[in-house]
Amino acid sequence: MKPARSRLAGATFAGAVAFAAALTVFLDAAHAAEPVALAAKSAAKPAAPSAAEAAKVARGKYLMSTSACMDCHTPWKMGEKGPEPDLSRLYSGHPESMVMPPAPALPEGPWIVTWGATNTAIAGPWGVSFTANLTPDMETGLGRWTERDFVQTIRTGRHMGRGREVLPPMPIAVYNNFTDADLKAIYAYLRTIPPVKNKVPEPIAPAVTAGK
């Protein structure tokens, strides 16, 4: 019998993959990604009515909750009825206090990925990635990020829209099917959740994690 933690990770990963596949099918041509348009001059942004802003935030919350974001960006814990997201750390990424030991060496073969019990640390051929703090904390989250930084990160697959590559298992190719309006709604929603001070570790390169 698999340990509970393995079942947790496996089940959640499978769910995420299944959802990602469904999402890809769901997003039809009408929702195809809009190309990143770089305007020579930025047009003045009209003031959005509060009802429209509320609808935008609600749309962002809906997209986040139906796009498997919770599975990796909120640490999971073992509850009375089994694994569940720790909502006190909503979207705050890999817990700073959880220092991971070296990833186990896997035998030769097609098994290539190891997931931590919280679903927030993932080891694979790319090294070890830690899921990001998406809360609006100014020092450790997305507090300083602009909407453009966020949209560009998904569009380019690079951290902050221009840094290192965003690592697996973040399904950039799937989320690139979001429209700009979708991504802006998600950003708007993320500005409304409680900030959590949690400095996620930097990713670890493969050479350091080769545990054989």
Binding site: L38, A40, L142, T146, M160, E202
Partner: protein, 309 residues
Amino acid sequence: MRDTLVVLLRSLLACALAACAGPAAAAAPPQDLRDTGLFADAAMSVPAPGVIAFTPQYTLWSDGTSKRRWIRLPPGTSIDASNPDAWVFPRGTRLWKEFAYGARVETRYIELGADGQWRFATYRWSADGRSATLAGERGAQLAVADAPAGRYALPSRADCLNCHAGARSPVLGFGALQLGELLPELVRRGLVRRAPPSWRSAAPQIAAANEAERAARGYLHANCGHCHFKQGVPVPLVLAQDVAGTPAPEPASLARALERMASRNPLTQMPPLGTRVIDPQGLAVVQAWSDHLQSRTTSPSTRPSTQEP
């Protein structure tokens, strides 16, 4: 004479096709570098009339390639320098940057379209150096004997956006602090307008206490400033230089930046793309300034190593 006629005919054909096809077709970059209007001759060695060569005072490190750069403004237009740190270019502006390891490898091209959108493309030179054709949007890895490890990376279209899209101006390396003696000439010719009157006689310089500091600031401006400017990448480290002057970064932050400049681990290296080899000279210039800043903020008895754990 025959070359000139061929170029003229090509240009006329390109204009006619653009006029017939309308704005939608104009969005796609030409398949052949010849049709971008850079060169006047069939051998692609003589810049076309109106094309201006320039060399920034502080250059972007590109793994030791030799580079040439050009700009062309549509006739009768000018650059608006109202914001001295973020120039606004007229529609129809075109820029080229050629990369070579002995032979030409790649020419990058950006254009501000009639619709106000910047477009980015790159052209791959043939082995015989006689033609350059549009590279794919996903970039490519080329075998180039004189490049580091014999490999050369053509950027993808997304790579172009990574550096150019979020910058203060999508045009990098052609600004008030970069053009030196060329700037007064451009101002006097009316190609740069709404500029301070002093620019007619001398270009502004990066504010610095001495030439060593100016060189370090200039290096950081050229290599890091397109992301690390006020309102830029959301980290508290400003390395872009303003015409009005820029405060020195916190010594600890600069030391951390140096660690990343000295890395080519893809997860931590800076700049994050466009280079696979550390620039030893650039590193030394910035290291010297960093050491100076550290020495000013710590007493000799408590001064820590510049290398953080």
